[in-house]
């Protein structure tokens, strides 16, 4: 039974086989094999959620809050419902189950009930025979708001008497990191730098805006085909809102046009499922870019005050920091993003003494949640600024200073966790040193190149 290896050589899928495909066969780990999904993508045949259609399909459209913080005194849908071709105009009252969802804690309304907390919060959702009827219907929904005092900044949000975004108070989460003795650490320092850093909100801007498609199949299962980073969490949350057994809901991911964290939580899924359930028809709901940017999550804006000390030998002795993270109107992953930021505020360096506090604060701003980097990207703006400034004050080469202080196997992180042999920071810094030599680069400045 030997020697039939040749027979295994299969005819390749592609005529004029590209280079990468020819190279690959056995032992693909470590090789740049061609992506499994690339041919549909490069030929335009890949089906994204917004590409789906079915006979009898309706088009969904959402009405977003125009107020940052307001009571809803009434919603008049009569004119909207009268638009020819409109099959459903749904508000919070039409939700069969619980009007709530949320990736970490369920604090967000599917459709705003009595109160809106940010500009862009879904208030009503429409299904109609075509996009124009849906759009017209949305424009005819009348919402009567009673504006409330609002808070737009996490530092203001913590002040006594600040308007409350949620009844439980504006602090979503406070993380404390305490390692060593911070006072002793600063006593030992001969150079201390202290600064305030701010990072702006960032939009994920995946090229595919959020899209979902829903229909009820012959067995009565509610299907949702969508663009999601976690189909199973979506299913769980849809079932709660629609009051359905979880095994009667199916969520399947289509080809996704990027996510970067934005599609981690529910986006269009519950709304499109609601429309399909209420109308009994297939429904497609695709956000416009503008709608997506208003209603979905973003990267947390942060405000950081931090001081960092090093001794004469150029060793870090202590870091103390405080972080205010704007989580916006709802939690999303604000607890964990800002918690992770507190742990990582010092960066990949060894601090014998470390103290940080982070506050994830509700405001009436857009929602901030998970985004590639997850709080650590914001932390890096601070720690790399601090480290560079310390190196400058100590008269040390910035790379040497980092290598001297970076974590190594056996040294501990801010949480006291001891690094294993997989600690690679030194190796990456050394790679940069080598790169600088290879490319003849130096930190000498300034390098004026032209007038």
């Amino acid at each position: 039974m030997t020697g039939d290896k040749q027979a295994l050589q299969k005819e390749k899928l592609i005529v004029g086989t590209p280079q990468t495909l020819r190279e690959t066969d056995f032992d693909p780990v470590g090789k740049s094999v061609v992506r499994k999904d690339v041919i549909p993508k490069v030929t335009g045949k890949a089906i994204y959620a917004g590409d789906l259609h079915m006979p009898g399909m309706l088009i969904g459209k959402v009405l977003l809050s125009a107020q940052p913080h307001a009571l809803i005194k009434g919603i008049d849908i009569s004119a909207a419902a009268a638009v020819p071709g409109v099959k459903a105009v749904l508000t919070a009252q039409d939700i069969p189950g619980e009007n709530v969802f949320g990736i970490a804690i369920p604090d967000q309304q599917v459709l705003a009930d009595r109160k809106v907390r940010f500009i862009g919060e879904p208030v009503a959702v429409v299904a109609a025979e075509d996009a124009f009827a849906a759009e017209q219907a949305v424009s005819k929904i009348r919402v009567e708001y009673e504006p409330l005092p609002a808070v737009f900044n996490p530092i203001d949000g913590l002040k006594p008497g600040a308007p409350l975004v949620h009844e439980k108070g504006n602090i979503l989460y406070h993380t404390k990191v305490r390692k060593g003795n911070i006072e002793k650490g600063f006593d030992e320092a001969s150079v201390i730098v202290e600064n305030i850093y701010r990072t702006a909100g960032q939009d994920h801007a995946p090229i595919e805006p959020e899209a979902g498609f829903s229909w009820i199949d012959a067995e009565g299962v509610l299907n949702v085909f969508t663009s999601t980073q976690y189909a199973f969490r979506d299913r769980r949350q849809i079932a709660v809102v629609l009051n359905l057994p979880m095994n009667r809901v199916r969520v399947a991911n289509m080809t996704m046009g990027g996510g970067f964290g934005r599609k981690d939580d529910v986006t269009t899924e519950i709304l499109v499922a609601l429309l399909a359930w209420k109308t009994g028809r297939p429904v497609r709901l695709v956000y416009t870019r503008h709608e997506a940017m208003l209603t979905q999550t973003h990267r947390h804006p942060t405000y950081v005050r931090v001081r960092t000390g090093a001794n004469k030998e150029g060793r870090l002795t202590a870091m103390e920091g405080v972080i205010y993270g704007d989580t916006g109107a709802y939690s999303s992953l604000g607890i964990f993003v800002i918690k992770k930021m507190a742990l990582h505020l010092g960066g990949p360096y060894y601090y014998p003494n470390y103290k940080s506090d982070s506050f994830s604060v509700y405001t009436n701003n857009p929602i901030y949640g998970p985004f590639r980097g997850f709080g650590v990207l914001q932390a890096a703006v601070s720690h790399e600024g601090q480290i560079d400034e310390l190196a400058e004050k100590l008269g040390m080469d910035p790379l040497e200073f980092r290598l001297k202080n970076c974590l190594r196997p056996g040294l501990s992180f801010s949480t006291g966790q001891v690094m294993t042999e997989a600690c690679g920071i030194g190796a990456t810094l050394e790679r940069l040193q080598q790169y600088m030599v290879e490319n003849g680069l130096s930190f000498e400045r300034p390098q004026e190149v032209s007038a």
């Binding site: 090789k31 960032q202 801007a205 976690y230 810094l429």
Partner: protein
């Protein structure tokens, strides 16, 4: 005047969720009579290349051609729950579950191959489309013949893998404890040119030394590094949600600017491989590490060029001109003082 400067930045990133949040994955695989393998994994392909990577791992484990794998992903009607795709956990967690599914399938496979080849099943290796005795390579059966035999004899042809890295939570008062199962590492270097008259910062060079542990697909790792660094560059230089009184004022792609092809350097990915014994084939996640250090790296290069420190994102032309003292008014945001942000008590 145009000034050039070099800057570096570094980062560490706890992989996966940490703090007792469920951090698991499951993969099923099935062997067809012709030796091809179908993989079911509940994790989403966002474009990052996860489905390709899982197929690579399965092909490697079973010693079959990559082309003989096919994957179905992220469908509650078909796939097992593999946890979310986030926190740079896909390679690390989902990859491990795929390997475990292969090992699960290898149990009955080796048993039959051992019977057929009259070899101790533990001595069998899976390589080059063959299942062979590692001590006597002439004793072998092709994987696809073995697959056929498995079906003819009604043996189990499905394997399942489950991998869980859920950690204990850190201490609520001090955050002391083992927060994450593992960590990822990256350092970057940027060279910038600052037009001090126009306030424009051009990134001439951006090199990213990223620890992939093991680059399972080097080109995809490079793609993650290049794309991640460009997202970081956008954050560093132009991306800024302008939110006034709760209103996101630039919520359109014509006003919220992300980098075009003309705005970015050819990012140089420098793949570093520090083996992680807990990762699949030693691999770690790279998606987030590739993005995290970029902004401060660019800011440090701006400092190197101009002597001024950027402490707010983005280093837009207007902010750079303010830093250089070219504009009339003070920047509004510098009004935030230490008094506004006291350190909480111990």
């Amino acid at each position: 005047m145009k000034l050039r400067g070099i800057g570096v930045g570094a980062m560490m990133y706890g992989l996966g969720y940490g703090y007792a949040r469920p951090d698991f994955s499951a993969t099923d695989i099935e062997l067809a009579p012709d030796g091809t393998v179908t993989i079911w994994n509940g994790a989403s392909e966002l474009g990052q290349g996860l489905t390709t990577l899982l197929c690579q791992l399965v092909a490697q484990e079973l010693g079959i051609p990559y082309e003989d794998t096919f994957i179905i992903s992220a469908d509650t009607g078909r796939t097992p729950d593999a946890g979310p795709v986030s926190a740079s956990r896909s390679t690390y967690v989902q990859g491990n579950s795929a390997i475990k599914a292969c090992r699960d399938l290898k149990g009955p496979l080796s048993e039959l191959a051992g019977e057929l080849l009259k070899v101790d099943p533990d001595r069998l290796i899976y390589k080059d489309g063959l299942v062979q005795d590692q001590e006597d390579p002439n004793r072998s059966i092709s994987f696809h013949n073995l697959a056929g035999e498995m079906h003819k004899r009604g043996r189990r042809v499905r394997g399942s893998g489950y991998h869980n890295i859920t950690t204990a939570d850190v201490d609520p008062e001090t955050s002391q404890g083992d927060a994450y199962a593992s960590y990822a590492w990256a350092s970057q270097l940027a060279e910038v040119e600052v037009d001090t008259e126009m306030g424009l910062v051009t990134v001439l060079r951006l090199a990213s030394a990223t620890d992939a542990g093991k680059a399972i697909n080097p080109k995809m790792v490079e793609g993650q590094i290049e794309g991640g660094a460009v997202q970081g560059l956008g954050f560093a230089l132009m991306e800024e949600m302008k939110v006034e009184q709760g209103e996101f004022k630039n919520a359109k792609l014509s006003t919220y600017l992300i980098p075009t092809a003309a705005d970015v350097p050819m990012v140089e990915p420098l793949i570093v491989e520090v083996f992680d014994p807990t990762g699949p084939y030693g691999a770690k996640g790279v998606a987030e590490p590739a993005t995290i250090p970029t902004a401060p790296t660019i800011f440090n290069a701006i400092t190197n060029a101009t002597g001024k420190r950027v402490r707010s994102t983005p280093a837009s032309p207007e902010r750079v001109l303010r830093l250089l003292g070219k504009l009339e008014e003070e920047e509004e945001e510098t009004q935030l003082t230490f008094e506004d942000m006291p350190y909480p008590e111990p």
